[in-house]
Symmetry: C2
DNA sequence: CAGTATCCCGTGCGATACTG
DNA sequence: CAGTATCGCACGGGATACTG
């Protein structure tokens, strides 16, 4: 099974680039992180992902559903209850995305420091 | 000494979120991938990263330099020659980002398929 | 509770022209 | 060669109000 590299993100015309782009939009990585431990309701996700609005969260989840990353299960009860769960495909994303998230958390201090010293010498007044 | 979890991307006010945001902008992952094997000149990067313009590539590289991810070495020759290289900090990003890139390339087909079947039933005419 | 509908805006990004 | 300057816009994303 050699699968001769049909996809290449460095090629602007390659669909894999838009896939990568989608994985790295504002909320997808956070939603994947929240759904990683198991299914969650819409409100739980919104509660955990600080700062997201219902509209944008819906857009994100729809888009993830469309791409086969999450399953959406709507219970026709009143009030409604909707559960979201990572698909097997979505679960394969948890590792990579979690690595990125933990990188950001672990190295945020260094990045902030680098930024400060860059600004101190390059944007120096005078 | 409780330095436990000083950073949390789920917190909208946490700086780690903006760091994550930066890591996942349009060109940073691709540039890191190109610089992973070793230093490269500006033109080489531009040549490899399909579709990027000089202006935006400069912005990306400056921003990465500011955040301590790349070193920029400009030779005062004529014509000028500028080499970019990942810093030790930047090198720690290669793994996580490469995982994401290879995920996109490996699963692009599945995502495209999921998209097609979603559109076929949900956006079905009639 | 889990969305939709509507209006609105910042900015990331692109095209083009120019320069040391 | 490696940028910078300028202009402009699509679009991702946000605030608010409303609904089944």
């Amino acid at each position: 099974m050699d699968a001769v590299r049909p996809f290449d993100v460095l090629d602007p015309a390659c669909p894999s680039r838009s896939v990568l782009r989608h994985l790295t939009d504002r909320w997808t990585p956070l939603v994947v992180g929240v759904l990683a431990p198991g299914p969650a309701r819409f409100g739980e996700i919104r509660d955990q992902v600080g700062g997201v609005t219902a509209k944008v969260l819906t857009q994100t989840l729809r888009s993830m559903e469309r791409d086969g990353l999450v399953d959406r299960r709507a219970l026709p009860t009143m009030p409604p209850r909707v559960d979201y769960e990572l698909t097997p495909l979505g679960r394969t994303l948890v590792g990579p995305l979690d690595a990125l998230r933990s990188w950001a958390e672990r190295h945020a201090g260094e990045v902030l420091g680098a930024r400060a010293s860059y600004d101190a010498q390059d944007g120096a007044p005078g």
